[in-house]
């Protein structure tokens, strides 16, 4: 039986929950951002919506691979008078490949979009170069997963650095939410680093997924705080 799982057995299914949570959180942020875009028609919010929708889609693709890999397919085959029942992953290889490529490309694209939005010196040429970079990273990650995680670490580090500087410059009122975002990207960056070491120890997968979940939960806390403030207005 083919196995593409890099997860310890006791963690089977748990990363599905983590992906669902990340999908929901990113979708919520995309929704709120779209609402703001409809109000002010500022293109910044349209691109922010796109970035978070892309991230949501990446977790959807991840779910496809997780669910496909974890669950066996029972098949029945008739050979004359014999009826064979067997377990196989036949037919799901395509789904796994699509899921892997989809997840990796969209994950990088989402964070690339976010970084591009926040970066002061925006230029179309930079966008083209970064898109090419993530295409290459996705392609090479099919041979070696390291390429995907290394590229993701780069984006997380850049975003962490942006929010770290923003925290330094911000007044007290803004600092709290910026600090949540700074730690969000800190945890997401460390989780990507942990994924790199999965090859050496399967338990690193569980650690990496948990760190990623913490990162997204911090994003959720920031969003809940925002909803709370928005209701008071």
């Amino acid at each position: 039986m083919l196995t593409f799982v890099f997860s310890p057995r006791w963690f089977y299914g748990v990363d599905v929950i983590s992906s669902i949570i990340a999908l929901v959180i990113t979708f919520m942020i995309a929704g709120f951002s779209y609402k703001i875009y409809r109000f002010c028609k500022d293109k910044k919010y349209k691109y922010l919506t796109l970035s978070f929708i892309t991230l949501s889609a990446s977790f959807f693709f991840k779910l496809l691979t997780n669910i496909t890999v974890y669950y066996d397919v029972q098949k029945l085959s008739k050979l004359g008078t014999l009826i064979l029942e067997y377990t196989t992953l036949e037919g799901s290889d395509l789904l796994i490949s699509i899921g892997f490529i989809g997840h990796r490309f969209l994950f990088l694209a989402g964070f690339m979009g976010l970084f591009y939005l926040l970066y002061k010196h925006r230029d179309r040429k930079l966008l083209i170069v970064m898109t090419w970079l993530i295409l290459l990273a996705t392609w090479f990650s099919l041979r070696n997963y390291f390429f995907f995680h290394a590229t993701a670490i780069l984006f997380m580090a850049l975003l962490f650095w942006y929010y770290y500087n923003a925290c330094k410059d911000a007044k007290n009122k803004k600092k709290k939410s910026l600090r949540y975002l700074m730690f969000t990207f800190w945890f997401l960056g460390i989780s990507q680093l942990s994924f790199v070491f999965v090859f050496f120890n399967l338990h690193m997968y569980a650690i990496a997924e948990s760190l990623q979940l913490i990162g997204f939960l911090l994003l959720l806390i920031n969003l809940i705080t925002l909803f709370g403030k928005a209701k008071k207005c």
Binding site: I36, C40, S177, L226, A230, C233
Partner: protein, 90 residues
């Protein structure tokens, strides 16, 4: 040097100026409170009245501008937008 206000910032300043005066203000007072030229204020007021965010009221010989319920909703949405902007560091 202060940043140039966007269209939506100016609309917010106009509506906030009216709100701060208890929901009713004279056009001349609005011009000073919202820091607008007469020409600019007139063009924005036309737009706000078209969108029913502001209404005109005549009291004896005085003309007043009143913020509507839609105008209050606009102010709420604008604050939400600002909170979102601050939360995400834009």
């Amino acid at each position: 040097m202060a940043q140039r206000r966007s269209r939506i910032d100016i609309i917010n300043d106009i509506l906030e100026a009216i709100q701060r005066k208890g929901g009713k203000i004279k056009p001349t007072h609005l011009m000073y409170k919202a820091n607008l030229s007469h020409k600019l204020m007139t063009s924005y007021l036309e737009e706000l009245m078209d969108k029913a965010l502001v209404e005109e009221l005549m009291e004896k010989t005085n003309k007043y501008l009143i913020i509507t319920d839609d105008g209050y909703k606009f102010l709420q949405k604008f604050k939400q937008m600002r909170e979102f902007q601050e939360s995400f560091g834009f």
